[in-house]
């Protein structure tokens, strides 16, 4: 039972980071219909940028702020240079442009920062862990959770109460109507990419704090896909819950399943789980039930 609670807590804490990255993914999909396979590389870029800031001696909160700023600019640039021309193109074209971008970004990141594992030193968060009853939690996890939840709240507030957030919601809901009411779809797309870059950057920074940072953090960005499929592709609450559930699932399968089937079950379980969801409930938890029968 202790183990169960322990796994559950850690799963939720890590899952909140996935939720943050998944939120960025869903935003792009919702507003512009782009299925983004470069999410992992966006996490990588953000993580390395904040690592660089931190190693230059900038305090961590400021480094994180700087990462947000860089992510914002990069997001706008990416959308303007590559994605804007693709509005209305076929799914394959759009997906493969994001795949091309992911190769490009990964190559650049590995070229600039190398492929060795780097850590935030000195450690950002205190290393001793906290005891809650019988559960032990590393402070890194706890602070990451706090940061992720804080950012999620900020983003949700942004969508609900600001002019731009409402414009994004309107575009996602009915693009034609939004356009006729004077919402600039181009700016909404640009903003979606900027927010995705920012969310992924923070997510990557937090993940890098937990395990150290190398190119395989980009693989964790791929875990976003099972999360958003589980949540339903175009649902923001779905992305958040999906991210947390995938975090929990990963921890459980790492502990329980790997006794039955040795090997790296932990990395595979989300994808296997995704196939099962796709077979029985392809629209996920809260996605629009608009599945095309074949």
């Amino acid at each position: 039972m202790d183990l169960f609670l322990q796994l559950l807590t850690t799963g939720i804490l890590v899952g909140s980071i996935y939720a943050l990255v998944a939120l960025g993914w869903t935003l792009i999909y919702k507003s512009s219909g782009v299925l983004n396979l470069a999410m992992g590389e966006l996490t990588l870029i953000g993580a390395y940028v904040s690592l660089s800031f931190y190693t230059w001696g900038i305090p961590f909160p400021l480094a994180l702020l700087g990462t947000l700023l860089v992510g914002f600019v990069l997001g706008l640039l990416t959308e303007r240079l590559f994605l804007r021309r693709l509005i209305g193109e076929s799914t394959l074209t759009v997906i493969m442009v994001t795949v091309g971008l992911s190769f490009f970004f990964r190559g650049i990141v590995a070229f600039v920062w190398g492929t060795d594992t780097r850590v935030f030193s000195p450690p950002v968060f205190p290393t001793e862990s906290i005891r809650l009853g019988r559960i032990v939690i590393g402070q890194v996890y706890l602070w990451s959770f706090v940061a992720a939840i804080l950012l999620l709240l900020i983003f949700v507030g942004f969508f609900k109460y600001t002019r731009w957030g409402l414009a994004m919601q309107a575009t996602a809901d009915d693009e034609m109507a939004a356009l006729s009411l004077g919402v600039s779809a181009k700016r909404v797309y640009a903003l979606a990419w900027a927010i995705a870059f920012m969310a992924a950057g923070v997510g990557g920074t937090l993940l890098g704090n937990i395990n150290g940072l190398n190119i395989s953090v980009g693989y964790l960005g791929l875990l976003v896909l099972p999360a958003v499929v589980l949540g339903g592709l175009n649902s923001v609450p779905g992305a958040i819950v999906g991210g947390i559930l995938i975090g929990i699932l990963q921890n459980f399968s790492g502990a329980y399943l790997s006794r039955l089937v040795p090997g790296s079950v932990k990395d595979i379980a989300p994808f296997a789980f995704m196939v099962i969801i796709l077979l029985f409930r392809p629209y996920g938890l809260w996605g629009w039930v608009k599945i095309e029968r074949v």
């Binding site: 299925l35 795949v99 990395d267 796709l278 599945i291």
Partner: protein, 354 residues
């Protein structure tokens, strides 16, 4: 189809022939002379190995071309089936001592069946959801089953190496680069001819109908599920052949060669070459391989100024490939095959091109 003036067909056989005029036949003879005589006689070992990589890329991309370009089923996990082919043929040769032709056949059948297994969801879902399923196929097959379990068979450690003399076709042993090259030319030729002929049969036309409009195809009496699964089988089998060829050119096999990146790579190859075109597969494979090899010659002189360029050449290559895909999709979305057609038309219609 373009025919020069004063060429008339009298029989339907002539109308269906692949090479219809003396000019085209001459061109093909020259092509085969180049492939079978000139290149093996003159090329260095390095150039032969580049040619073998091109051949492997063509074989790998052929199945993807069939699924994406002719049947409209997007797949991002084809490296899984190539890996199945590679491992099945390696195990057949190492554990059971079969000859290369038999192991090739086994590899094709096993990879085809494995591909059908992951093609089954295509009966229920399409578009993005199918893409996710094929991605899952990649991770489940290569990163889990092959890395964790299949690699343990025979206790040879993480990768299987094939000792010299293991790869035999009847009495001949495949060991030198030239022999591998001839094997490559044979397999690529057979695959291209097979595909080209398959695509103009009932089966191929059914696939193209499904690609263009699946509802209309079903209304016309095409059994969609059956033909989709058949497409997955053939594509997987082509992948299996590619995998079996790859181990015969490297003499060892390791899960590292069949990562997710390779799946994406071969999709990029057909996009650059042209989706829905056999020419495109060949052009794309040649373009990408030669571009990245050519990059080497740019980087080596530069590396005296920027040593990082050659130390991290792999990453430079990755970034260049990514940029090439993006630029092609933005500026030449129909691929190289379309450009090739334009060029041919220009010369055919010259000097009155209107």
């Amino acid at each position: 189809m373009y025919l020069p003036s004063a060429v008339y067909h009298e029989r339907s056989r002539q109308d269906h022939a692949w090479w219809q005029t003396a000019f085209v036949r001459g061109k093909m003879v020259l092509l085969f002379l180049l492939l079978l005589v000139v290149i093996p006689a003159t090329a260095s070992v390095y150039l032969l190995s580049v040619a073998n990589v091109i051949g492997y890329t063509i074989l790998s991309a052929m199945g993807v071309q069939l699924l994406i370009g002719y049947c409209g089923q997007i797949t991002l996990g084809h490296a899984a089936f190539i890996a199945v082919g590679a491992y099945v043929s390696a195990i057949a040769m190492l554990q059971y001592g079969t000859g290369y032709p038999l192991s090739l056949l086994l590899a094709a059948v096993a990879a085809g069946l494995w591909s059908v297994l992951f093609g089954l969801p295509s009966a229920r879902v399409k578009g993005f959801y199918l893409i996710m399923t094929t991605m899952a196929a990649q991770f489940i097959t290569v990163d889990f089953l092959i890395t964790q379990y299949v690699s343990q068979i025979g206790g040879r450690g993480h990768y299987f190496s094939l000792p010299p003399g293991t790869i035999t076709i009847g009495p001949w042993v495949i060991e030198s680069d030239v022999q591998v090259y001839y094997l490559m030319v044979l397999l690529v030729t057979l695959c291209i001819l097979g595909m080209a002929n398959l695509l103009r049969t009932r089966i191929g036309r059914a696939w193209i109908a499904i690609r263009d409009n699946d509802v209309a195809a079903e209304a016309m009496g095409v059994n969609i599920v059956w033909y989709k699964l058949l497409a997955f089988f053939v594509a997987g089998a082509l992948g299996g052949v590619a995998g079996a060829f790859w181990i015969s050119s490297l003499f060892f096999v390791s899960p590292e060669h069949f990562q997710f990146g390779w799946s994406l790579w071969i999709v990029g190859v057909i996009l650059i070459g042209g989706v829905g075109s056999l020419h495109g597969t060949v052009f794309g494979a040649m373009f990408i391989t030669l571009l990245l090899e050519g990059l080497k010659f740019v980087v080596i002189p530069l590396s005296e100024v920027f040593p990082a360029l050659s130390e991290k050449f792999l990453n430079v290559k990755e970034a260049a490939f990514g940029l090439a895909i993006v630029l092609f999709l933005l500026y030449e979305p129909k691929g190289l095959a379309y450009r090739w057609e334009q060029m041919k038309n220009y010369f055919n219609l010259w000097p009155f091109s209107y």
